[in-house]
């Protein structure tokens, strides 16, 4: 089959600048939509499945509370008993990687009379920084017990619906009836901790009236295996504990949000289909104006498949350029945008798989958008095509 040279398709792109612009905008919008939806789904998934935690952590929580740490209540002594009873827990300098924690959602205010906002708080000791190495203090210092001090995550402001500078070092938040000073800021990218407020464990116990109880114990396996922790939990029935790996816990939370992710993808697909139909419309108009040219090409001996291939090359090249522009905009603008949800907040993540999806969406617009109009234009017999206006 005699093919039309690629330069022919490339030169045709510049024949009508308005049509080229329409094709670029159309495909870039569809690609941008795919990037936004993909970034949302990817960001939520990464945050909830804790992909960035390097430690093999196991959570000991109250029986019957496996689906929500906030509902769990165990004796505070479980932490020291677990540290003493489970051999092989990771340790450094004689300090075991065992972190007793309280997970609670509490209302906070900017000031005593201000509007209430729901925050996710975690009561911790210094062991939390051993167990969660993905947490990095970027400003200030950890809060001291008994001093009404707190430390906030990078996305805590987003979770509260406040400007980031409102949670700067030295500012205060009002919770449990008094003001607490922000003395530190931390980041924990792609984890739920990034949107939390950390409080000294004993202070949060007092503030929430939890006499001698905590939510859970998070420990890091060294030579110990998950089976050792499970043996401890099932042996010490008096402590009423259940063991679950941290990854499995957050994977179950991620499964809970799966319908939302499916809905986002379905919505993006529907809107993308609308964009595709708009692209089809543009192509129909573009090719209809070139019926005589197409008839002339057939008269010169080029077969219909060869002409369709050239038209598709033209459309796909324009769509690919639009998709690349969209990917650049997506990386510069969309990546890192914080989104609030019930468990805290997460950032849109435009990484390699998402960019691939965006490029793919743009290319599909170019490919699928060209074939039906091209085939339609070739239906006319050559003499009628040559006489068309």
């Amino acid at each position: 089959m005699r093919q039309l040279p690629f330069e022919y398709a490339f030169r045709n792109l510049g024949r009508s600048r308005s049509r080229l612009l329409a094709a670029l905008i159309g495909s870039s919008l569809v690609a941008l939509l795919a990037l936004a939806a993909g970034g949302f789904v990817r960001g939520m998934q990464l945050t909830l499945t804790q992909h960035h935690g390097p430690n093999e952590n196991v959570i000991l929580l109250g029986t019957g509370s496996e689906e929500a740490l906030e509902r769990s209540q165990i004796d505070a002594s479980a932490a020291t008993i677990a540290a003493a009873s489970i051999p092989g827990i990771r340790e450094r300098g004689g300090t075991p990687f065992v972190s007793p924690e309280i997970h609670v959602a509490l209302p906070v205010r900017e000031a005593e009379e201000a509007e209430e906002r729901q925050a996710v708080l975690r009561g911790v000791t210094t062991a939390a920084l051993l167990v969660h190495p993905e947490v990095e203090i970027v400003e200030g210092r950890p809060p001291s017990a008994g001093a009404d001090e707190i430390m906030v995550g990078a996305l805590a402001a987003t979770r509260l619906g406040l400007a980031d500078e409102r949670l700067a070092i030295g500012r205060t938040l009002h919770l449990a009836g008094r003001d607490w000073a922000i003395v530190g800021r931390f980041t924990a990218p792609a984890t739920v901790m990034d949107a939390e407020i950390w409080v000294p464990l004993t202070d949060l116990q007092i503030a929430t009236k939890r006499d001698g109880s905590i939510s859970c114990v998070v420990l890091t396996l060294g030579d110990a295996a998950y089976d050792d922790v499970e043996l401890f939990a099932k042996s010490r029935l008096d402590l009423e504990l259940t063991a679950i790996s941290e990854r499995d816990y957050y994977a179950s939370i991620a499964a809970f949000y799966r319908p939302i992710r499916v809905m986002v993808i379905a919505t993006a697909a529907l809107i993308g289909a609308g964009g595709l139909l708009g692209g089809l419309n543009t192509m129909y108009a573009a090719f209809a104006a070139r019926v005589r040219e197409i008839g002339a090409l057939q008269a010169m001996g080029y077969t219909r498949p060869a002409i369709v291939m050239s038209l598709v090359e033209e459309s796909t090249f324009a769509a690919a350029c639009g998709a690349v522009i969209a990917c650049a905009v997506g990386l510069l603008v969309l990546d890192g945008i914080a989104v609030r949800f019930s468990m805290g907040a997460f950032a849109l993540t435009v990484d390699a798989p998402v960019i691939l999806a965006g490029l793919g969406a743009g290319l599909i617009v170019g490919l699928v958008g060209a074939i039906p109009p091209a085939v339609r234009c070739l239906r006319l017999p050559i003499p009628e095509a040559l006489k068309a206006h």
């Binding site: 029986t63 019957g64 496996e66 295996a225 089976d227 499970e230 043996l231 099932k234 042996s235 010490r236 029935l237 008096d238 009423e240 259940t242």
Partner: protein
């Protein structure tokens, strides 16, 4: 000859990997295949019903660390009473009704005894571990051995450490499944 050498070099790593590949979860002592080969039943499963079994609640009141015991119970007391990767399970006193005993209850995990109070569960639950020579639970799947939630069992073994009256751990040498 040259092709044979190249083929041998290419296949050698596969042979090494096949010999070395071992799941970390399988590094503990496993059930001895020779013990079960003859009858097809794991060695710790007893065909004959042991005599002199006491229910869990009574055992918790009197059992002392180190003494031999035969205790009767029903697998349950947790949403996941049986460990997937080791010989370890929790059992309840047979006199305590599970959610499955209530025909109107549609609980999907009736073996968790959620119909009972936590105090009742604690007073009537015990832990059973089928131990290996190192004193740790055997790496075995009790479900594959024929045990399941709410099965009534009689356990023969030794009472383990009792840090509090609510804790009763039996290091089992034999388990008989009642009725099967």
């Amino acid at each position: 000859m040259k092709h044979a050498r190249i083929a041998a070099l290419a296949l050698a790593p596969l042979a090494v990997l096949a010999g070395c590949g071992k799941d970390a979860a399988e590094t503990g002592p496993r059930e001895n295949p020779a013990d079960s080969a003859a009858s097809g039943r794991p060695a710790f499963l007893l065909a004959e019903m042991p005599e002199g079994a006491v229910p869990v609640a009574d055992a918790k009141k009197t059992a002392r660390e180190g003494e031999q015991i035969v205790v009767r119970g029903r697998i349950g007391g947790r949403s996941d009473p049986m460990s997937a990767g080791q010989g370890l399970f929790v059992m309840m006193d047979p006199s305590v009704p599970s959610c499955a005993d209530d025909p109107e209850d549609e609980c999907k995990t009736p073996w968790d005894y959620c119909c009972e109070t936590p105090e009742t569960i604690m007073a009537n639950a015990a832990t059973v571990q089928v131990t290996g020579p190192d004193g740790k639970p055997l790496k075995t799947n009790l479900s594959a051995a024929g045990l399941s939630e709410l099965d009534e069992v009689i356990v023969v073994g030794t009472v383990g450490a009792r840090p509090s009256p609510e804790v009763l751990v039996v290091d089992a040498t034999g388990i008989h499944r009642v009725g099967g």
